[in-house]
């Protein structure tokens, strides 16, 4: 979900950056500037539909289903929290808030994933370097590049520690992972010293013929989200 897809390379870098960042901005807008829950849910549903549409352009159907499954998972988790809180006598969250909470989480998750699906790491590095953050851009790329292997290690450590502590103290999984990250950072420093950062001759484009389609659909989304406040919901 966080890897770049070349399927949208017909659009300019600027258009892709604008689309991804506008989605995040709209999510913030929906979160903080909605007059009530039903309005926020409607906005979130619109944004989520657009996110799923974009995801469908860059990924196979299977990935989109994964996105939809996430909504279900978070809704179930929310419901479980509600019932557990109720059983234990804690201050339970309003069940009406569970659905927008789940939607919000998934919409933000997909929104952030689009930042990496639509824009390549090389483009990010180039953009950040042009903004004067060259060192940070490289550190960011290196950190991102290690996420898949870290996830694999997490599964390994979780299996070992679950059995070692008889299903208790699962939080201890963080210890070897943190240490491994330290060791990895040293090895990464070795690799960086020897090979250095890869150069890039990538061109950051500001306009391409097809951009108009992307801008049009984004404009429709922005208009829809902005007008929802006016609806008598």
């Amino acid at each position: 979900m966080f890897t770049y897809s070349k399927r949208l390379e017909d659009y300019s870098t600027l258009a892709r950056v604008l689309v991804a960042s506008t989605i995040i901005a709209l999510l913030m807008f929906a979160r903080f500037l909605s007059r009530d829950v039903s309005v926020e849910v409607t906005k979130l549903a619109s944004i989520l539909s657009f996110e799923l549409y974009l995801t469908s352009r860059v990924r196979e159907r299977q990935r989109i289903l994964t996105g939809l499954k996430l909504i279900l998972v978070f809704t179930i988790i929310g419901a479980l929290v509600f019932y557990l809180s109720h059983l234990l006598g804690w201050l339970a969250p309003n069940p009406v808030e569970i659905v927008p909470g789940a939607l919000r989480l998934v919409a933000f998750f997909l929104g952030f994933s689009l930042l990496f699906q639509l824009i390549s790491l090389r483009e990010w590095r180039s953009i950040l370097s042009k903004l004067g953050f060259k060192g940070q851009a490289l550190a960011f790329s290196m950190a991102i590049s290690q996420i898949p292997t870290t996830l694999y290690y997490l599964s390994e450590a979780a299996t070992a520690i679950k059995l070692k502590y008889k299903g208790k103290r699962s939080y201890k999984v963080a210890v070897p992972l943190a240490l491994l990250s330290l060791l990895t950072s040293r090895s990464l420093a070795e690799s960086y010293t020897i090979y250095g950062p890869p150069a890039t001759d990538i061109r950051l484009t500001t306009h391409k013929r097809k951009d108009i389609y992307l801008y049009s659909s984004l404009a429709v989304l922005v208009a829809a989200v902005a007008s929802i406040d006016a609806l008598p919901l």
């Binding site: 790329s141 292997t149 390994e156 059995l163 491994l180 090895s187 070795e190 890869p198 150069a199």
Partner: protein
């Protein structure tokens, strides 16, 4: 073929901050086109020597380095890393750490562009190495999706882009399956044709012994040339011990502890099954080996046996406690000291009062209980985990690739330890090295999702390799 000196090391001494000297007066000369193998015990300083030659010992590890290292006649000390990278390239133990761009092709091209500073030259260099290494099909793939062998091949392509005069491989066979080892041997032949100078630091040296020009042993901080002794000893042992013999099959000695019945598993709901109809019975005293190449589902099977993953079809019945020791052994440890590790784990197993037994095991392994588990060598970490498992009276012990990173001698000793246990032990491995040892009660091969019993040993000899190791290195591992 040979001639000009590529590497000249004289009276090299290296020590880490606040540490004792690891290398004590190393002298070494490597000529252009030579392939040199350096073997040695765990902690003997092989990686330190590689770090010193690549200049990393000083720049990254702040080591105290005395003596002289010349690469193509130029002093390494004080050489800028940009310049150094034109003379020496390192292919480290974990090849996945050497990629920054997610796509292999982007990463290689980015490095070519960095080296050549010109798009056309970079493209030429990129295409040349990609074709020479036969990795065209990998260029459009993410580096984290390719196998260890493929990642190493791609990294070698990266290493030769800069035309570095010396290529250093630090434990290149670690985590490679038997096919990966064959690939690496082919790769060495290819590098020989390209007249590249190669230095290899490796524990699992037998497959390389006849392929290299020189063999050195690193011991007590000194390097000794053992080329002719290595070859004659290898030949002598080949005649003394049969190349492959049938193992002495022993059945399980006790009650049934774990049973997998017709287990099917797949990660992707729409994909093919990774495991198909697995049947396995583990009795007390069983020492079972599951052999399979990388990607065949060995780790997945262990996780299913451990109860971490649920089979899609079939079932696993566990009639006792289970412990899983991962391939990356550092992931097993969680505490700041070994003593704490023992106390915590015994507490979790409701055996707090027996923690002394665990501490005795630690002392029996000549390990200081007050030291950090993370300061141990890979081999010590594996042995400690196994020792703790036996002290806890674990019923079923699952080990994923426990031999990676161990010397042949340590592998044999670990096997002896496993054989003596009263638990049921399952070892998953991608190397046939260990299959000949007469300690297995059952041998299986995991291939195309099916688990089939292996009736005979196919090749390799851990016993011979272990004897060869002892003769050359002259140490009895702790």
């Amino acid at each position: 073929m040979m001639g000009r000196l590529v590497l000249e090391v004289s009276d090299l001494w290296v020590r880490y901050p606040r540490g004792d000297w690891v290398l004590r007066g190393i002298d070494l000369q490597v000529n252009r086109g030579e392939q040199v193998l350096v073997i040695g015990d765990t902690g003997s300083g092989k990686t330190t020597l590689a770090r010193a030659i690549t200049g990393l010992a000083k720049t990254i590890y702040e080591c105290d380095v005395k003596g002289r290292i010349l690469l193509s006649g130029m002093e390494v000390d004080g050489m800028h890393c940009e310049v150094l990278s034109r003379h020496v390239a390192l292919v480290g133990q974990n090849p996945y750490l050497y990629f920054i761009e997610p796509l292999v092709g982007d990463d290689l091209y980015g490095y070519a562009l960095k080296v050549h500073c010109d798009g056309r030259l970079a493209s030429d260099a990129f295409n040349k190495v990609v074709d020479a290494m036969g990795i065209r099909r990998l260029t459009e793939r993410f580096f984290f999706e390719i196998s260890g062998g493929e990642a190493r091949r791609a990294l070698v392509a990266k290493a030769i882009i800069s035309n570095a005069s010396l290529l250093i491989f630090d434990e290149p066979l670690m985590w490679l399956d038997d096919r990966g080892v064959e690939d690496f041997v082919d790769l060495l032949e290819m590098l020989r044709r390209l007249e590249r100078t190669v230095m290899i630091f490796e524990h699992r040296f037998v497959p390389l012994l006849k392929r290299v020009d020189k063999v050195y042993v690193l011991k007590d901080g000194k390097l000794a040339d053992v080329t002719s002794r290595a070859l004659t000893t290898f030949e002598k042992l080949s005649h003394q011990l049969p190349h492959g013999f049938y193992f002495e099959k022993k059945t399980g000695k006790g009650d049934l502890l774990l049973e997998a019945k017709d287990v099917y598993f797949k990660y992707d709901a729409k994909g093919d099954y990774l495991l198909k109809g697995i049947d396995l019975q583990l009795c007390r005293g069983d020492v079972v080996l599951i052999y399979g190449l990388n990607g065949q589902g060995k780790t997945t099977l262990l996780k299913i046996l451990a109860g971490y993953l649920k089979p899609h079809k079939g079932k696993v019945l566990r009639r006792g406690s289970v412990l899983y020791i991962p391939q990356n052994i550092a992931l097993f440890y969680t505490e700041s000291t070994i003593e704490k590790e023992v106390v915590e784990v015994f507490k979790a197993w409701r055996m707090k009062t027996k923690a002394k037994v665990g501490l005795d095991v630690v002392r029996g392994l000549n390990i200081d209980p007050l030291s950090s588990p993370f300061s141990l060598s890979h081999g010590q970490m594996v042995k400690l985990a196994v020792g703790l498992a036996f002290a806890l009276d674990v019923d079923v012990l699952l080990l994923d690739e426990p031999f990676s990173g161990l010397t042949y001698d340590d592998r044999l000793k670990l096997l002896e330890l496993l054989y003596q246990s009263n638990s049921a032990v399952v070892v998953a491995t991608s190397s046939l090295d260990a299959t000949e040892a007469p300690y297995w009660t059952k041998l299986y091969k995991l291939e195309e999702g099916r688990l089939v019993e292996m009736r005979a040993i196919e090749k390799a000899s851990l016993i011979r390799a272990s004897r060869l190791y002892r003769e050359l290195v002259g140490v009895e591992s702790a």
